[in-house]
Structures are given as structure tokens and as C-alpha cells.
């Protein structure tokens, strides 16, 4: 038996739950066929979620899943240029012609799909993004000049969470694109995903008791993002997410974290997402999206 997982035509954080729901119970018992033939567009969140699914299946020592590549040449070229197929080939049995990746990624990609396995990778991610971030964040999105550093700090802290808490490796990608339906403006998006133990298991031994029967994926996300707790006893821990929240408040940005069966977001005025979505289809690890919109001045130029 093969279970078919359909990649949504427009694959982003909104359509992710549909994708996660296709897997059924984890770990899936059947061989998986991830069908991306109908994909018309995927955000960095969508692409690294695909890789996370492949990684989770590999780490569960299940049969290597199949992935049928998009029919659209344009979509395939884009996925190749952002580095998706290079990593997907290690996790999936790819079906369909995959174009060769260009030497350099598209100009709106701040960071190709990049694995995060160790602290050394965090250094490299920050080094790499500092070369292009200023041009895009200040020049195109109109953020203040020193926003580049704050953006890199948010990226650094998000990636470190994988190394310190996930118990396995993960993925990061950063891109600029237009949020047509939700905002009508360009946004910079940091997407980080891992196939690890998730927030609930990470925090369970130190914080579950305090929440009593309320303890679950949603309560764990609340503890981490709202209360700034960490699994470490060190009282200085848990400040990375708090710092990111401070920046996002200044930039009218959004952070959304999905782990297990829940998603918690700090929702700015321009978005209509719910703060806490619970009882969602289970998906391994944690997925973080940080969205920073262009200023209105930059959009009206």
C-alpha cells in the first residue's frame, strides 16, 4: 500500500495543515508518495516542511518516500535554484526531470534551503545572509539600516533552537516575496523547520507539572513563546524568542510556531490568523515562520 501525500498547489504556512493531514498517524505505516506535480508555488516554509517530512521518515527508518516533481518547468527551476532538489535527492526517490541548479540563486532568495546540524552551521548562515540582507531589508523593504543586524539575530536564535532543543538537525531558508492576499506588500520571511522532538517533549520534564491537565503542544508553545521558558535550568535561557518578539513588535512582523498538533502566533494587525490553533494534524518537530513586512513608504516608492 502506498499513501499519497498531495503537495498543495500553493504551499505555504496556511496550506501546511492540509499537507500534514495527509500523513495520517505518525509514523506512517505505508510507503509514501509525495505528489508535487500540481505545485504552482511554494514558500520557503513549504519547501523546508517537505524536507522535514522526508527527514522524519528517514529517521524513523521507514521506506524511502517517493517525490514526484512539479510539472511546471518554472516551478521546477525555482525549486532547483533555491537548492531544494539537492537536499531532497538525499531524502526522497525523485521522480521526474529535475533541472540543474543555477550557480547563484534568484535575487529574492536571501538564503537558499540550508541544513542546520550544528552551531557551526549557524555561524555560516549568519555570515552568508549578512552579504545580501542589507540590500534587501533596507534598500527594498525600507527597514531602518540597522534592521539587518536585528534580522540576523532573529535568524541566529531561530537556528540555534534547532541545535539546542530539537535533538536532530533541521532546515532554514530566507526569502523575500509578495504577500498579495494577506497584506499586499513585500515581506521577508525566515522559515526554520526540524524533525525533532518538538516543544512539548522538549519542555515536558521541567514545565508540564505546572500546567497540569492543560499540558500539551499548545501549552508548551505558550510557555516558550509567551512566558520565555526553556528546558534548561539556567535562568538566562529562553531569551532568544523574547528578543525576536521585541523586533517583530517594532517592525509589525509576525512569528508563528507550529509543533506537534498546535500552532501559536503573535499576530500583527495586517494578518487574520488566530493566536492559537490547536488539534491540528500532527507533524513532527517544530516549524517556525518569521514574517517582516516592507514599510508602507517602501511600497509606495
Amino acid at each position: 500500500m502506498t499513501r499519497v501525500i498531495e503537495v498543495p498547489a500553493h504551499f505555504d504556512d496556511r496550506s501546511f495543515d492540509q499537507f500534514a493531514g495527509d500523513f495520517g498517524a505518525w509514523p506512517p505505516e505505508e510507503k509514501l508518495l509525495v505528489d508535487a506535480r500540481g505545485a504552482q508555488w511554494a514558500s520557503p516554509y513549504g519547501l523546508i516542511a517537505l524536507l522535514t517530512a522526508g527527514q522524519a521518515v528517514a529517521e524513523a527508518r521507514l521506506e524511502r518516500p517517493l517525490l514526484t516533481v512539479p510539472n511546471s518547468d518554472e516551478v521546477k527551476r525555482y525549486w532547483a535554484r533555491i537548492g531544494f532538489f539537492r537536499h531532497a535527492a538525499e531524502l526522497f526517490e525523485l521522480h521526474g526531470r529535475v533541472p540543474k541548479a543555477a550557480a547563484t540563486g534568484p535575487s529574492d532568495v536571501l538564503l537558499d534551503v540550508t541544513p542546520v546540524r550544528a552551531m557551526e552551521d549557524v555561524h555560516q548562515v549568519v555570515e552568508k545572509i549578512s552579504e545580501t540582507a542589507s540590500r534587501i531589508l533596507h534598500g527594498e523593504l525600507g527597514l531602518e539600516r540597522n534592521a539587518t543586524m536585528r534580522f540576523s539575530m532573529a535568524l541566529s536564535e531561530s537556528c540555534q533552537n534547532i541545535v539546542e532543543h530539537a535533538g536532530t538537525s533541521g532546515w532554514v531558508a530566507v526569502q523575500v516575496y509578495t504577500f498579495r492576499r494577506r497584506l499586499g506588500r513585500r515581506v521577508a520571511v525566515i522559515a526554520v523547520s526540524d524533525a525533532g522532538i518538538g516543544f512539548r517533549r522538549s519542555l515536558e520534564s521541567t514545565h508540564a507539572k505546572r500546567f497540569g491537565e492543560r499540558w500539551g503542544d499548545g501549552a508548551a508553545l505558550e510557555a516558550a513563546l509567551i512566558q520565555g521558558v526553556s528546558r534548561f535550568r539556567d535562568p538566562g535561557r529562553g531569551q532568544g524568542l523574547a528578543g525576536i518578539k521585541g523586533f517583530l513588535d517594532r517592525w509589525k512582523g509576525k512569528i508563528s510556531i507550529r509543533s506537534g498538533t498546535a500552532r501559536l502566533s503573535i499576530v500583527p494587525m495586517w494578518d487574520d490568523d488566530v493566536p492559537l490553533a490547536d488539534h491540528l494534524p500532527y507533524f513532527p518537530g517544530a516549524q517556525v515562520q518569521i514574517t517582516i513586512p516592507a514599510t508602507q513608504e517602501a511600497e509606495s516608492r
Partner: protein, 179 residues
Amino acid sequence: MIETIRIGHLLRETATSPYRHLVTRPTGAAVRHSIEVALSRSDCLTALLDFSDIELLDFSCAEEIVAKLLLAQASQQPRFVVLRGLRDDQHDAIEQVLTHHGLAVAAMVADGETVLLGFVSGDARAAFTCVCRLGRACAGDVAQALDWPEARATEALESLTHHRLVRPEGDLRYPLLVA
């Protein structure tokens, strides 16, 4: 005596790779260890940590370097610590981690003025500015300059002294970078 420690130099010596950014906890912990080694070999009263070669300082490194250094000072041979060469975003990171711990540190800003970062009351900040402007001050001097009752000035100076943000000599309090 003031010992100037260039954090950029320490980063290059400490990290195995030639990075310009102070990111990740292990890197921060390694740099803090190097600072502590340098201070253990010095009989200085004040450590001036110069961040001017550093491009990025994330929250983890701010915590590992500045907050933990200040926490360790409480249990070791205590020094006064002053920061220099910080940019706005680095101010933010240090301000947040110190506030979280109830700590504070003095930082020189671009025009040579010294400001406080971290968890400090409004009165203590005002008294600190007053001591820096006067060059040295007792509670009576601060009370007169700020038009406060002397008890209020005494309390503010005690808070600054407790956090090692001014140097005490008898009844007088000195800015940290005055020899």
C-alpha cells in the same frame, strides 16, 4: 588601572573559524572564558570591553559574555566592567539579557558619554549621569545637583555602588573610567 580587552581580537583567537559575528552560546562561552583568563592575569580595577570590531552580537552571546561575566564577578575578585563600541542592536541585546537577570553595566557611547544598560531605576540613572558630569560626588552633591532629599540621593548611590556602576572611595563616588 584600566584593562582594555578587544572582543574582536578575542573572537578571532578563540573561535576556530574566522567569523566576525558573535553568535551561538558556545562561541560566547569561549570568548567569556578568554576574558576571564585575561582578567585573571591583570591587577586592573576596571575592565573595558571593546566591541567595536564586532558586527553582530546575538542574545545568546550577550547572555554568555556580558551577563555571565557580571554574574561571575560577584563571586570572583570583583572588577568594574565598562563596555565600549556597541551599536544600537548590540545595546538592545545586552539591555534585554541584563534586565532579565536584574543586572546593569556602564557603556560608553559614540560621543564619549557613558550610559547604563540593564536593570536600573530611574533615580539610579539620574544619579549616575550626575556623578559622570561632576567627575566625583557624594550624596550631598547629588542631592543638591538634582534637587533631591539627601536620603533619595544616598539610596540611588547605594544602588549604583551595589551594581558596581560607580567606584566608591569613602563617601565619594567616581565614574568608572576616571583613573
